[in-house]
């Protein structure tokens, strides 16, 4: 409204009248604060006022004292020179405040122990350090208040931060112990209690640097390895848990007589105990241990056993590979978890998964080999499996999604045709290696 006044525009045009009515209520000037200040909050009162508005003015009034603010000089006890600076001071009834500058207490420094020459000769000599160097070190430590990075920077001869730290702490410690009337007095002193370990410090810094310089690739590998390790440890835990459950079960069957269950427990135990340490991370032995654990469970669900076997078979595969297996299964039109999990179906399903894993491995191998081949041809030997060169790109794309859903819906006919396309001139002469597929290619070769 003020802006319009300034510009000389006519106020309250008839069109705008309706608009101004609803916002008017929220823009009412509240008490206690001026309108401009209220507008700063966005026109809405805060839910909880940060400071009680009424208290602000009342505080000084109730005290009945005269408060003035004066520009006065002050000294700082933390300063060594006698520099006088000025600042605003709250003066109550004409009396300026007393006491030191309030921030003087913040000027803390470390207590550096000073040794005498005799003490040096007696306790502190060291083959790697001259007295001069040690003196310089202590001087710098005091100047820089134990900031060893700065000390190392200014130290005349080249010594690492860890070496300087080591020297400083061992000297201080030695002095403390030497000066103490009895060892027990200083044993609680932090310098004596915790000994600085230079090698550990170096190692720690090196490890941190390594971690910092990890590439994304390495981080992903770490995550995969950890997930894999977790899976293995959980599998081992379930085996152990089921082993622990079996023993009380066997001993409970008192009706059959106490002898028989105990002997079976004894025979079961040594065999399973020998299996645990031998279980390596290869899928074959993993499935063997799964079979053993299932046998120990005695009663279980078929779906559970399939789950365990699938886990064991893909134990050596990373997360990405497992996702690719599942994608392939979907492309093939197979349920990720069989709808009718009978013994035969589960066995077939497991075999299919294993075969898909083999297929993916072969694909990867082929990709690597082709990349190798192209680099051999180019003459440069750079291994970049992720970016196969252009003449191979078609094949790489094909390999990525070997089973596209539409090619399978027609019962595999198109699949045979695609195979035809890929075969180069040298391929037609090759005889199919397995009898299972001999039917299809021969069928389409006839059409050639």
């Amino acid at each position: 409204m003020d802006a319009k006044d300034i510009l000389g525009l006519p106020k309250n045009l008839p069109i705008q009248e309706k608009k101004s009515k609803p916002p008017k209520e929220s823009q009412r000037k509240p008490d206690g604060i001026s309108r401009e200040v209220y507008a700063l909050t966005g026109g809405l009162a805060p839910l909880m006022p940060a400071i009680d508005v009424n208290q602000l003015k009342r505080k000084a009034q109730s005290e009945n004292e005269k408060i003035t603010w004066q520009w006065l000089p002050f000294t700082n006890s933390a300063r060594k020179d006698n520099l006088q600076l000025y600042h605003w001071v709250r003066v109550v009834n004409g009396n300026p405040p007393t006491g030191d500058y309030s921030f003087a207490k913040c000027n803390k420094s470390a207590d550096i122990i000073k040794y005498t020459d005799e003490e040096y000769e007696k306790y502190l000599t060291d083959p790697a350090w001259t007295k001069e160097e040690t003196d310089q070190l202590f001087d710098l430590c005091e100047r820089f208040n134990l900031r060893f990075i700065a000390v190392a920077d200014r130290f005349p001869s080249t010594k690492t931060v860890e070496e300087l730290k080591d020297r400083y702490y061992s000297v201080s410690r030695a002095i403390l112990i030497a000066r103490a009337p009895s060892p027990g007095d200083v044993s609680a002193h932090p310098l004596v209690k915790d000994v600085y370990n230079a090698t550990q410090d170096t190692e720690r810094k090196r490890a941190l640097n390594l971690l910092l310089s990890h590439t994304k690739h390495q981080e992903r590998r770490d995550v995969e390895v950890l997930a894999h390790a977790k899976r293995i440890s959980e599998a081992r835990k379930t085996i152990k848990a089921s082993a622990n459950l079996v023993l009380p079960v066997l001993s409970d069957t008192g009706t059959l007589g106490a002898d028989k269950p105990i002997t079976t427990a004894d025979t079961v135990n040594p065999s399973t105990n020998s299996e645990f340490p031998s279980s390596t991370t290869t899928p074959v032995s993993e499935t063997a241990s799964v079979v053993a654990s299932l046998r120990m469970l005695r009663v279980y669900l078929r779906t559970y056993s399939l789950e365990q076997m699938v886990q064991a078979a893909s134990s050596s595969a990373g997360l990405r590979t497992i996702k690719r297996v599942e994608q392939t299964l979907q492309d093939l039109g197979v349920n990720l978890k069989p709808k009718v999990p009978t013994k035969a179906v589960c066995a077939e399903h497991l075999e299919l998964r294993k075969e898909i894993l083999t297929l993916l491995n072969l694909q990867k191998q082929l990709q690597y080999k082709e990349a190798e081949g192209s680099s051999l041809r180019d003459g440069t030997f750079t291994e970049t499996p992720g970016t196969p060169p252009k003449q191979q790109s078609v094949r790489a794309v094909d390999l990525d999604r070997t089973f596209t859903p539409d090619s399978l819906s027609t019962g595999g006919e198109r699949f045979g045709k695609r195979e035809q396309k890929r075969k180069g001139p040298g391929r037609l002469a090759e005889a199919p290696s397995s009898p299972a597929q001999s039917k299809r290619p021969r069928k389409y070769k006839a059409s050639d």
């Binding site: 459950l245 079960v249 409970d252 069957t253 009706t255 059959l256 007589g257 002898d259 028989k260 269950p261 002997t263 025979t267 299932l294 046998r295 469970l297 005695r298 009663v299 279980y300 669900l301 078929r302 779906t303 056993s305 093939l332 039109g333 197979v334 069989p338 709808k339 009718v340 999990p341 009978t342 013994k343 035969a344 179906v345 077939e348 399903h349 299919l352 075969e355 898909i356 083999t358 297929l359 072969l362 694909q363 191998q365 082929l366 080999k369 082709e370 081949g373 051999l376 041809r377 070997t402 089973f403 399978l408 595999g412 195979e419 090759e430 199919p432 290696s433 397995s434 299972a436 597929q437």
Partner: protein, 268 residues
């Protein structure tokens, strides 16, 4: 005395020595007990089951809190009596139901209720002592409403959702085997021809006493789970994958051969 359990030889002879002092018949009882407890190694018996729920919309009789009448159950896959191995079934319902832990002591293992909500039901199957001591857990998400928006709900056509699974008893005792080998609900492996099982007291196999779901009125809605479909699909998929593997192997050897040729000239 002829006995198959060779490992227990010393114990048996010890007991026979004892029995010669007292009664002779007792040792034969001990023998039988011990051979009954002997397990069939490397074999398993399998009981196919189906579990799930059927839900009928109550239509006009529906109220806000009771819109559907549903039945959750565990049945034999071919509608046979599960009581042969299952002693009781415990259905854990949502806490808003009265007595949410429902125990069904005898077959048919089913439970009917009225309600409005869908929730997860935990089904625990407890077995007879010769099957196993540990119970098995199944989880079923109760479904009342149909998947697709098929328009207005019908009181005649229920929503049926079932899952197939199999209870596997690995290395069953000979006693259990003898007891269940002729039961239609159980799939037993074929034993070698010369294998003789110990005699078991014949159970009442009168079909009148069997509590199977063949006469269950809900029978008409049960799904018939056939493994044939899935087996066919899996076989076809495996064929394709195997074909691909063979092709890749050929390609690999070809590429290897090419590499050899490329490398050879530089060696010269």
């Amino acid at each position: 005395m002829p006995n198959k359990s060779g490992a227990e030889q010393p114990e048996i002879s010890g007991s026979t020595q004892k029995s010669q002092r007292t009664k002779i018949t007792k040792s034969s009882d001990d023998n039988e007990k011990k051979s009954l407890a002997k397990k069939l190694k490397d074999s398993e018996i399998c009981i196919p089951i189906v579990y799930g729920n059927i839900a009928f919309w109550l239509g006009k009789k529906a109220s806000e809190y009771q819109s559907h009448r549903w039945t959750v159950y565990v049945r034999g896959a071919t509608n046979e009596d599960l009581g042969v191995v299952v002693k009781r079934a415990v259905f854990q319902l949502h806490s808003s139901f009265n007595n949410p832990t429902r125990v069904i002591e005898k077959p048919p293992f089913e439970l009917s209720e009225c309600g409005w909500g869908e929730f997860e039901i935990a089904i625990t199957l407890h077995f007879h002592s010769d099957v196993g001591e540990k119970p098995l857990h199944l989880y079923h998400h109760l479904k009342l409403y149909p998947e697709e928006e098929s328009g207005p709900l019908s009181t005649k056509k229920p929503v049926v959702i079932e899952s197939y699974d199999e209870i596997v008893v690995s290395e069953p005792s000979e006693a259990l085997f003898a007891r269940v080998q002729n039961h239609p609900a159980v799939i037993v492996p074929r034993l070698p021809a010369d294998f003789t099982l110990p005699p078991v007291p014949l159970e009442d196999v009168d079909s009148k006493n069997r509590v199977d779901t063949k006469d269950n009125p809900l029978n008409q809605w049960f799904t018939n789970f056939s493994e044939a479909d899935e087996l066919l699909k899996l076989a076809a998929a495996r064929q394709q994958v195997q074909a691909h593997i063979a092709r890749l192997r050929r390609q690999l050897t070809l590429v290897d051969g090419q590499h050899q040729q490329l490398k050879a000239p530089s060696d010269m």
